[in-house]
């Protein structure tokens, strides 16, 4: 970690760091939050990367090449022997498996006045800002199956695969490559999880439920205890009261005949 920072410092001092930064980058995450997706990758256009090679009176085009990382073992050349860039398509390279394929061509982005992020809030300007700032690899889902499609086809990428990208500067009139960036860092597309694996078990019980259950259990226990106490006290009380009533009934029976005798 330390040594790479030292190298970077030396590079910047020695003007060698130009190569370090000349790689296609992912679009700014503040702008493109959903990046990379399952089948697409949004790359920043090469702002100010080729300025040293541009002549004022000539017209240039930029080509974007994409390949799977595994293809770098087979071939990672984007030009043929005469310096002309390859014209490979997605189908010819099996989606970038056998080598790089041309995914896009566009004009050189304006280094002097790049698009401003603040303009994204404006509904009218956002399309232009996005178009000038980034390019979405894998955007076109129909060009592969359309036999009339003649432009450069940019079909969706494969999920859960690592890709690498490269920009190439081309002189439009001569058709010769003038400059190229390095291959980008490996960028991996997303992977999906199966919904069957989602665990719907609630896990911990909520606090409310534990409070309600415990308090109600205690109350039921108290009610049962109270009921048993009242039954037992009633049983004891009935034994005492049964002896009392017997005595009382006897005294009543004894006291009742006397008034009859006295009246006669």
């Amino acid at each position: 970690m330390c040594s790479s920072w030292v190298v970077l410092a030396f590079c910047c001092l020695g003007q060698l760091c130009a190569d370090q930064s000349l790689k296609p980058q992912l679009a700014a995450p503040q702008l493109a939050t959903n990046n990379p997706t399952l089948t697409t990758v949004a790359l920043e256009k090469p702002f100010c990367m080729f300025d040293s090679s541009l002549h004022p009176n000539k017209s240039y085009t930029i080509y974007l090449y994409a390949m799977k990382e595994t293809a770098s073992a087979i071939s990672s050349l984007v030009t043929d022997s005469s310096g002309k860039p390859l014209d490979s398509t997605f189908q010819q390279t099996s989606g970038g498996q056998l080598g790089p394929y041309k995914a896009a061509l566009f004009d050189v982005p304006n280094c002097a006045s790049p698009p401003r992020f603040a303009d994204v809030g404006d509904v009218n300007k956002v399309s232009d800002v996005l178009k000038q700032y980034l390019f979405r690899v894998g955007d076109d889902g129909t060009c592969l199956y359309d036999p009339n499609f003649l432009a450069v086809c940019n079909p969706p990428l494969a999920p859960d695969t690592t890709y690498r990208f490269k920009y190439v500067l081309l002189d439009s009139t001569e058709g010769i490559m003038k400059d190229q960036t390095l291959w980008s860092d490996p960028i991996k597309t997303r992977r999906v999880k199966l919904p069957l694996k989602i665990d719907t078990w609630p896990g911990r019980r909520s606090g409310d439920m534990i409070v309600i259950t415990s308090i109600l259990s205690v109350l039921v226990f108290l009610l049962l205890a109270g009921f048993l106490a009242s039954v037992s006290s009633a049983a004891m009380g009935s034994k005492d009261s049964s002896t009392e009533t017997r005595c009382m009934s006897q005294t009543i029976q004894q006291s009742e005949p006397r008034p009859q005798l006295s009246s006669e």
């Binding site: 679009a27 503040q30 702008l31 939050t33 959903n34 990046n35 997706t37 399952l38 089948t39 697409t40 949004a42 994204v120 809030g121 509904v123 956002v126 399309s127 996005l130 980034l134 979405r136 894998g138 955007d139 076109d140 889902g141 969706p156 999920p159 997303r190 999906v192 999880k193 919904p195 989602i198 719907t200 609630p202 896990g203 019980r205 909520s206 409310d208 439920m209 309600i212 259950t213 308090i215 109600l216 259990s217 109350l219 039921v220 108290l222 009610l223 109270g226 009921f227 009242s230 039954v231 006290s233 009633a234 049983a235 009380g237 009935s238 034994k239 009261s241 049964s242 009533t245 017997r246």
Partner: protein, 184 residues
């Protein structure tokens, strides 16, 4: 004459026993309601949404009816509450779903109703929505919109039931001790 033997319960005791049985059943239902509430987790909604939203190859009529219900509900929910997915739009990206098998990721990273809509009901800017540019898609999840009203209502019912049970407890206890002072 002697009183009846204390083995056969008197009418008041039968009444108390019946009330206790009623109380026990009420308590069981209150606890069950509180327990069942715990099952409505975000994962439950997520799984249902992923499996049924926009499902095209339904097995039978019941399946089709449920899929249509879920699709319609989620569409309206996402549109009215300005939300997307259960936890966020990333739900559609992280998991395979019936929706994903029907629509390509390049065209539909998430359903159209996750995009911010204009007055006519179409997305303000489709490319910005697909890329996830802030302001052109709904970045928050719908779980708060679902669980908020559900929790307040369930909370009210559960605690009201609990309060009634406490009151019933006091009345029963008072009845038992009041009657135990009178001769049986």
């Amino acid at each position: 004459m002697e009183n009846n033997s204390s083995h056969t319960p008197s009418r008041k005791q039968i009444y108390i026993i019946l009330m206790l049985i009623t109380y026990a059943f009420e308590m069981a239902s209150c606890i069950t309601a509180a327990t069942q509430r715990d099952f409505l987790t975000p994962n439950l909604f997520l799984k249902q949404m992923l499996e049924r939203y926009n499902k095209s190859d339904t097995d039978n009529n019941n399946d089709k009816w449920m899929a249509e219900g879920v699709t319609k509900t989620w569409d309206e929910l996402m549109l009215q509450k300005h939300c997307c997915g259960v936890r966020g739009p990333s739900d559609w990206q992280e998991y395979a779903s019936a929706f994903r098998s029907r629509h390509k990721d390049a065209d539909f990273p998430w359903p159209r109703n996750c995009c911010v809509m204009d007055a006519q009901g179409s997305p303000v800017n489709l490319d910005a929505c697909k890329l996830g540019v802030p302001g052109y898609y709904n970045s928050n999840g719908c779980y708060d919109a679902i669980s908020g009203p559900m929790n307040t209502q369930a909370w009210g019912v559960a605690w009201f039931g609990f309060a009634i049970l406490c009151w019933t407890f006091c009345v029963l206890l008072g009845t038992m001790f009041y009657w135990s002072r009178i001769e049986y």
